[in-house]
């Protein structure tokens, strides 16, 4: 397979890929190679995070075969940080997208650097109109350099700053840049915890017709002096039951849904399989099946 060029219409009208795993292909856990080498893979696609390394992206494509669906998750495009676009990061994303033949590229609405200083955790977008306008401008410019669309994902929140709800912020960005959206249900829950709201309060603020992918992942709730901090620990912890309930509610409301991803960095292979089974039960309950399965 060669480079894939995807338009918004291609993405919205494509088939439902099913249930996939979000993996860091540089990590030891889970052992993604042994997972993909199984005769009957229990997942329908992989969402690949490569730390910008094009070589390993090509290895993933070769290992899974030419027809297995792969999505790409990038990290350092810094969509919400008001700085000029990072051309090397965009070039790295383009190389990986081409190597994987990925139909879209995911990037969190967060920054990991401040004036060149790495901050080791995602700092989410400031939730203001000014921040949304800045993000839209940058996202449009980045997308003009890539073969497919960078699709923003809501980041985890421990301290929202600004007067917009995260779902309203996503609406502004999605509509302003005319891009699809990724809704991470754990990250949404983290925001709702911060503002003392129920997990799916204000769901009508986001245009669900733009949501093409839902994420779930393991998490840990940490209490610090009576304040609950959502620790987005992915595979190091199990998926909270509440997120599966959110998935059951939200999935049927997304008419252009293309994928549901479990992010599993740091999980053992056993945990990956048990988490796949838990999410499959939600699919079974909803009667959801991947295209071709």
């Amino acid at each position: 397979m060669g480079p894939q060029v995807s338009t918004l219409s291609d993405i919205f009208q494509g088939p439902f890929l099913g249930l996939g795993l979000g993996i860091d292909v540089h990590g030891d856990d889970p052992d993604w190679r042994s997972l993909v080498d199984q005769d009957h893979r229990p997942f329908d696609f992989l969402e690949v995070f490569t730390r910008g390394d094009g070589g390993i992206a090509a290895e993933v494509r070769e290992r899974v075969g030419p027809d297995f669906p792969l999505i790409y998750h990038h990290e350092n495009l810094e969509l919400v940080y008001p700085s000029p676009i990072n051309k090397p990061a965009i070039e790295a994303a383009a190389i990986n997208l081409n190597a994987l033949s990925a139909p879209w590229c995911i990037e969190e609405l967060a920054y990991r650097e401040i004036e060149g200083r790495y901050i080791d955790f995602f700092m989410p977008a400031l939730l203001t109109h000014e921040s949304a306008v800045s993000t839209i401008k940058k996202l449009k410019e980045i997308n003009s350099h890539l073969p497919t669309i960078v699709t923003p994902e809501n980041p985890p929140y421990q301290l929202p700053v600004g007067d917009l709800h995260i779902l309203e912020f996503m609406r502004l960005v999605g509509e302003g840049a005319d891009v699809p959206l990724i809704l991470d249900l754990g990250h949404l829950y983290s925001y709702q915890l911060c503002v003392g709201a129920d997990p799916l309060d204000h769901l009508n603020k986001i245009p669900l017709e733009r949501v093409i992918e839902l994420h779930v992942a393991g998490a840990n709730l940490v209490d610090i002096n009576g304040v609950t901090i959502y620790e987005d620990s992915h595979g190091a912890d199990v998926i909270p039951e509440i997120l599966l309930g959110m998935l059951e509610e939200v999935l049927p409301q997304c008419p252009h849904i293309r994928a549901v991803t479990i992010e599993v960095e740091d999980a053992s292979n056993e945990r990956v399989l048990s988490e796949v089974e838990r999410v499959r039960k939600v699919f079974d309950k909803l009667g959801v099946k991947a295209h071709g399965s």
């Binding site: 940080y81 004036e115 901050i119 955790f121 700092m123 421990q158 911060c194 610090i224 901090i229």
Partner: protein
């Protein structure tokens, strides 16, 4: 206030060790911020930073600093809170891979800390940061290094074919030699295992000799004559020459031992 300035201000608020000050100066800008959550998140970040950035390479240093700041009950995150609140933290590269933030801050406040702590930090820096980075040709913060370890000697093999004798030995790896005023290895072992240090530590000079290459570090329990011999072997040396320099020393046995440790290599 421009968006970037808001982000920078938020960063400073989260890193502030004294959030009351931040409340006074920043509430006007961030009037939607939940201050309890700001405190909690700042604490959460500090806890992550102290463990991720420094826990593995400087385990005894951060424990020693915490102890000096407030006694044995002081949480390690307090060390991060202190460092993060200063411009030193803005010197971090990645997860403070060069140690510039933690150790630059420590050196800047060396009068506030016991001298053994500065020595021990120098030892952990050498073992956990400077020499591994040297072995992999990675950059170091030389200014901070000179401040922390002013007497550090790095001895590297010199390619000097003109002075090479017909047969002899030469250093095969880079050596680091530094003399500390306090027993750093003992202190490091106690603190890194969660042990406690008496309030007053008596000086007990210790010379530390380390050999380094890409395969790792070798700490040598060698006295001064042995260290001198290795230092001399930075340039090729004939065995007879070494014997004449160290007439009261079992040079042949020592050279053989160093060859077995791959510190010296023979040439013909």
């Amino acid at each position: 206030m421009a968006l970037k300035e808001q982000i920078l201000r938020l960063d400073r608020m989260l890193r502030s060790a004294d959030l009351n000050e931040a409340e006074a100066t920043d509430l006007e800008v961030f009037n939607h911020v939940d201050m309890d959550r700001l405190h909690a998140f700042g604490q959460y970040i500090a806890d992550k930073v102290v463990h991720r950035f420094w826990g593995e390479r400087f385990p005894a240093t951060i424990r020693g600093i915490a102890f000096a700041l407030g006694g044995h009950e002081t949480p390690l995150a307090e060390v991060a809170r202190q460092v993060m609140a200063t411009p030193w933290f803005e010197k971090t590269i990645g997860e403070d891979v060069t140690g510039s933030a933690l150790l630059g801050w420590l050196c800047s406040r060396r009068d506030d800390f016991p001298r053994w702590l500065i020595d021990m930090a120098g030892y952990e820096y050498l073992v956990g940061c400077a020499l591994p980075r040297l072995a992999h040709n990675e950059t170091r913060d030389l200014e901070m290094e000179k401040n922390l370890l002013p007497e550090l000697q790095l001895i590297e093999p010199v390619n000097d074919s003109q002075s090479a004798p017909g047969k002899g030995v030469q250093l095969a790896k880079t050596l680091a030699l530094v003399c500390f005023e306090y027993p750093v290895t003992e202190l490091q072992e106690v603190l890194s295992c969660g042990g406690m240090i008496e309030a007053e530590v008596l000086p007990e000079p210790q010379a530390v000799l380390l050999a380094v290459d890409k395969d790792g570090l070798l700490e040598l329990d060698a006295g001064y004559p042995a260290a001198d011999l290795l230092q001399l072997c930075a340039r090729p040396q004939a065995l007879e020459q070494l014997k004449s320099v160290f007439p009261n020393f079992a040079v042949e046995e020592l050279v053989e031992e160093f060859k077995n440790l791959t510190l010296l290599e023979a040439f013909n």
